[in-house]
Amino acid sequence: MTVTTRPLEAAPGASLARLAGSTPFVKLAAGVVLLLLWEFGVRAWAPAYVARPSGVIAVLPSVVASRDFLAAAAATLGSVIEGLAIALVFGIGVGIAMGRSFVVDRLIRYYVFGLFAMPMVAILPLITLWFGYTDAARLATTVFAAFFSLALNAADGARAVPTEYLEVGRSFRAQRLRVLCDIVLPASMPYLLAGIRLAAARALIGAVVAEFFISVNGLGFFILFNSRSFRHNQAIVAVIVLAGCGAGFEALVNWVTHRYFPWYRRDEKR
């Protein structure tokens, strides 16, 4: 935590001024101001059904305790995690093959980059054609959303392995598979973590959009259903949970990176 201590102002009795300058206090105050702006902005200008903080707080306990909401949250998050896991296995495989093999890289790079650049929402009509209006369609969307950023980041990581590491491996006559598992994979971990962070965000968007599109039970559908019946306060609770998951996952990955790969500092590429 960075606390602004200005020696000149730290005169006796200035502890209140110091509190006002401390980071957590400033953040908290800003949060309160934002919530107040939201509350009174809605009261002044928006129709009564529009969500506002006091209304959200009032419905929060009943929504969070309701079985529908819990089932929806479990469905969406379960599908995101499952999709991430599948994409992780295949993404690491494809990415490392691209990063370590010149031929593989040149063969598929344009397809992988093209599918990465494609807005994933666009394939929803195709996915419903292939998988029907089912849970499987949502899972396919999350896998698709997550796969390409994982593969591209894994490829970057595998490419960036220092040559000395590989030379040491060769000097000890390590087998190719051992080199991949024991040198390349650990050395590209920080890149993979960056890829996981991006992939998780994309998978979350993919799951929500898929639920809008195919109307399977989940947080996205919960939002759609409640906002259509003008219960915005209830719907906002689901948005808060989604935001919490996105931010929480990002914080977790950042923490792991700082904790276990403190030397790693790279500008975000994708």
Partner: protein, 246 residues
């Protein structure tokens, strides 16, 4: 043969092989599931180009709005430390929030029009820009500003010679990331708000099981995405060369 030429040869072979697999898959699985490449290309009609054009207008409006608001706001946060400390956590939470979740609210409050769709594209795109600009602002070494101050640099010179050159590359990274997000926002808003552009083509073609048209629309929107992302990468390399983007 040089390695470079070999690389292009392999790339060409890869693209040709992919096209062949696509064609064969389409012919063997059945055209209702996978339209062969030849059918897909035949399905690129002037109507689809027009739809792409109207989508592009939506993209351009929302995206330029997010740049016009995101970059100056980010720069302001770079200079005013109190504001940055107050808002940066909220910006990073919003950046991690799937903005798609807000589409139903926008629909019920603003209805079917061009403006709500622009708002969706804007919301998808603005937070990566703000987030990256603030990240840049946070990493400014205080010594840089202190040295400028010691030499009695004016506020204007401080902006021109220290803040802008330092923060702009970060903003460019954010702008590049925002391109991908804005494209997702574009298609999503065309699906879920009033149907228009490439989103409408996709939806109506899939309802009438016109798989070739679905593939054609996806192909065009993918090419658009590749082009815009390459453009973003090029701009970033050109103007942020000292940040070493491969």
């Amino acid at each position: 043969m040089s390695r470079r030429a070999l690389g292009w040869l392999i790339t060409g072979a890869g693209i040709a092989a992919g096209a062949a697999v696509w064609e064969i898959a389409g012919r063997s699985v059945g055209a209702a599931f996978v339209a062969p490449l030849s059918d897909t290309i035949a399905a690129i009609t002037p109507a689809i180009w027009r739809a792409l054009g109207s989508s592009l207008v939506l993209f351009a409006t929302g995206f330029s709005l997010s740049v016009a608001i995101g970059v100056p706001l980010g720069l302001l946060l770079a200079r005013v430390r109190l504001l940055r400390v107050a808002l940066e956590s909220y910006i990073s939470v919003l950046n991690a929030t799937p903005m798609a979740a807000l589409i139903p609210f926008i629909l019920s409050m603003m209805g079917f029009d061009f403006a709500p769709k622009v708002l969706v594209v804007f919301l998808f795109a603005v937070f990566p820009i703000l987030y990256n600009t603030v990240e840049g602002a946070r990493s400014i070494r205080p010594e840089l500003i202190e040295v400028a101050r010691s030499f009695r640099s004016s506020e204007r010179a401080l902006w021109r010679d220290v803040l802008l050159p330092y923060v702009l590359p970060f903003a460019l990274t954010g702008i590049r990331q925002a391109i991908g997000r804005a494209l997702v926002g574009m298609v999503a808003s065309e699906f879920f708000l009033s149907a228009s552009g490439i989103g409408m083509v996709l939806q109506s073609a899939s309802q009438s099981i016109d798989t070739a048209a679905v593939f054609a629309a996806i192909l065009l929107v993918t090419l658009l995405g590749v082009f815009l992302m390459e453009l973003g990468l090029w701009v970033e390399r050109r103007y942020a060369a000292w940040r070493n983007i491969q």
